[in-house]
């Protein structure tokens, strides 16, 4: 049997790509691209969370960007209220959002499929209204901490004061997020989730506490979303309610499916489509809304030809290519 920390070829490819991104990418990026890549990496972490929930349990959460907003709000609130270092704010924001994810899981335990998706979408809509009404803390007084004018400084991590270092920091956090998910998949929870997805009755017959494991999965999704929101807050030093609309949650879920929810490459494709593509269109002087057309084409392509998403299709193609080559060599 393979060990818990066995690294698959796909895993090595991921680590190699992350190493390249950490070592090379910040050095060759302008400040515009630094901010694009940092925000793409934050969304990568959030997409990993929502893709995980869909791939492992077949559950659709349309609140992920709302959960990022919750994590970001908590991180900003803590930043202006206390003198904690960034890591403490990040951890507290992620953990609080995890608890929020558990609350969100309550309806999930009774509903599935379309109904669950609708409940999470309503939660996202509720959060959108709260963010629009109360805004994000920027150093003002009181509980909501909002003032007019320029916001107070946001403390970045001690290790990552510059924009280049902060991009590296966020990429490493995203990699840790993927490793966290993969370790879960290989351990007891991953096996329980696989059986729950197969059938809840068989999971119960195997002694799996279905309620507990579904709640656990929602907690992980919340944890990753919250961490992503706190990291995004650190990138910009402030957050805008326009970022966390319910429609964005729907968008990143759809892109996670287009990319391929079962693969890290799929989450990466989704993050690139969501953040890097519009930035590229911007630079080329094309209306960034064109990206919606491309998303739509990607979705149609995935629905018609690629049930495992673009990443699944590409990996499948790569595998059959290698197999064909192996046969010719033999």
């Amino acid at each position: 049997m393979k060990g818990l920390f066995h690294v698959t070829p796909s895993g090595w490819a991921g680590f190699a790509l992350a190493a390249f991104a950490v070592l090379v990418l910040p050095g060759i990026s302008s400040s515009y691209w630094l901010s694009v890549f940092t925000s793409a990496s934050c969304f990568l972490l959030a997409i990993a969370g929502v893709a995980f929930l869909y791939a492992r349990l077949g559950m659709v959460s349309l609140t992920q960007v709302g959960l990022m907003g919750v994590g970001g709000w908590i991180a900003l609130r803590l930043n202006y209220a206390f003198d904690f270092p960034f890591e403490v704010n990040l951890a507290l924001a992620a953990l609080s959002t995890m608890v929020f994810g558990w609350v969100l899981a309550l309806p999930a335990l009774r509903m599935r499929g379309l109904y669950l998706a609708l409940v999470t979408l309503m939660a996202a809509g509720g959060l959108e209204i709260l963010f629009a009404t109360f805004q994000f803390p920027n150093g003002g007084d009181g509980f909501w901490g909002v003032k007019t004018g320029s916001s107070d400084p946001f403390r970045r991590p001690f290790l990552a004061q510059s924009a280049e270092d902060y991009l590296r920091y966020v990429i490493i956090c995203a990699v840790l997020g993927f490793v966290f998910i993969e370790l879960h998949r290989r351990l007891q929870p991953g096996r329980a989730w696989a059986l729950i997805r197969r059938s809840e009755a068989s999971a119960m017959a195997a002694g799996v506490n279905v309620t507990l494991y579904k709640t656990w999965a929602f907690g992980i999704t919340g944890l990753l979303g919250g961490a992503a929101g706190a990291l995004l807050a650190g990138s910009l030093g402030l957050l805008d309610d326009g970022t966390f609309r319910a429609s964005e949650s729907v968008m990143i879920f759809a892109l996670a499916v287009v990319g391929g929810a079962r693969y890290w490459q799929g989450a990466l494709v989704a993050a690139i489509l969501y953040k890097v593509l519009p930035a590229l269109l911007n630079i080329w002087g094309v209306d960034a809304d064109l990206s919606y057309v491309i998303f739509g084409a990607g979705l149609l392509h995935a629905v018609i030809t690629a049930p495992d998403g673009l990443a699944g299709q590409a990996l499948q193609g790569l595998r059959s290519l290698l197999r064909g080559k192996g046969r010719r060599d033999a």
Binding site: M1, R191, A192, A194, L195, M204, A205, A206
Partner: protein, 237 residues
Amino acid sequence: MLEIRNVTVRFGGVIALNDVSASFGRAVSGIIGPNGAGKTTLMNVLSGFVGTQSGSVTRDGQDLLRLAPHRRAHWGLRRSFQKEEIADDLTVYENVLVQIDHARAVSGSKQAEVETMLELVGMASRAGKLGADLSGFERRLTDVAKCLVGKPRVVMFDEPAGGMSVDETRQLGVLIQQIHGATGAQVLVIDHDVDLIREVCEETLVLDFGRRIAFGPTDDVLSDPKVKAAYLGTEEV
């Protein structure tokens, strides 16, 4: 002794089980009956997926009906489904491990026990194969191995021979007869295949339209005119 007392189940106006009682005391017991007789309902009552209007099910002083379904598994109840429930993206080994992950009473290492039971059902050499790559019979064998790990007390099979060839059914019968010796568990088999029941079960309960129409040693039960009538629709052939 698995004691089923006066179990009644209604689905709206339909009485799926009508005051059914039976005390299963042998190593392997069978439950047979025509389609719609209530066999699977009785198994679902035992595993907790269907609630009862009245009645009790006790074994070793434990009233099973008081426990949530997953707690019955912790207690030592195992069951297979008509369609084998093997997760496609887990290996054979992991599919069995998931059962013992949540078992309370394990002697020695979980890994060792999984390997022993895979050896017993003859799947040890294919332990690393993914569920998706298994044949129907391999999936069934993996399902049997799942039922054997973690010190089971009662193992129930719901039509295990469905879709199997004659030869596979015979192999499965031999395997089912080894379960009591290997684990100490009591086995209940539901099937349409009267030959399989005659082969492996020492005692048999016959249900028809939710009622018990016969219970006792298998050979006596199968030669009972009432049982023949239930199966063939006439008094005597």
